[in-house]
Amino acid sequence: MDEFRARVESERAYLLRYASLQLRDRHAAEDAVQETLLAALAGEASFVGRSSLRTWLTGILKHKIVDTIRRTARDATVVPGEPDLEEFDGLFDKRGHWQEPPSDWGNPDKTFDDKQFLAALKACLEQLPTKTAEAFMMREHLGHETADICKVLAITPTHCWVLLYRARMALRACLEETWSRPWTRKK
């Protein structure tokens, strides 16, 4: 029992990093991790060791994260209206063509090995508005379908697609600006 407790406890730092990707509020992230650890200790019997302990804990944590997002979405007093697409006017000309077309980012597998890319991506994620970031991370990090995201965030599917579109547009523009490509760096 104590050995199990120690192994669970040793995953705390990883789980907190994971939770912090989705929950901006440090306390909310810590609470979600704490609840996960408690649930894990209470449910030791259901850990059959077929998956790794980390995978099992992450599975519990994912539910806690979504619960937290659902709670805050319900508590939010400001109901966001349907976002309009005029906000991208600066990016496109009058005919709807790119002012500055996106560039080629090269081979993805090399890009993921680039520490500078992941650091720039993290920084860019932090600049997104909270709801936009929540929708994007629920979709891309937790892998939820749009219908689930709509329910959790209490928004319409159209609004959800706009949030995801907005997140992708903002992230790529931010990375275009802040990530210095390996092939342009001085050796």
């Binding site: 990883y14 990093r17 994971y18 990707l21 697409l85 991208f88 496109f92 005919r95 709807g96 063509h97 790119w98 077309p101 996106p102 560039s103 080629d104 980012w105 993805p108 890009t111 993921f112 890319f117 992941l118 991506l121 993290k122 991370m137 979709r139 891309e140 990090h141 749009t146 599917p157 959800c160 697609w161 995801l164 579109y165 992708r168 547009m169 992230l171 790529r172 990375l175």
Partner: protein
């Protein structure tokens, strides 16, 4: 109907979140065939999806 880049990027993004209709797929593909900027956008969006998976480790 020819899509503008504004419409094409929106469709490319939605294509990652819902199944596009046959007409939408055709219009998007025709646009991407002649537009390097939107082709790059579309690849960047897919790359973001995969990159996010690398963040926690």
């Amino acid at each position: 109907m020819i899509l503008s880049c504004r419409e094409a990027t929106r469709l490319a993004s939605q294509g990652l979140d819902r199944p596009l209709s046959f007409g939408e797929r055709v219009r998007l593909r025709v646009h991407l065939a002649v537009c390097a900027g939107c082709t790059n956008f579309s690849r960047q969006a897919e790359l973001l999806r995969r990159a996010v998976q690398h963040l926690a480790s």
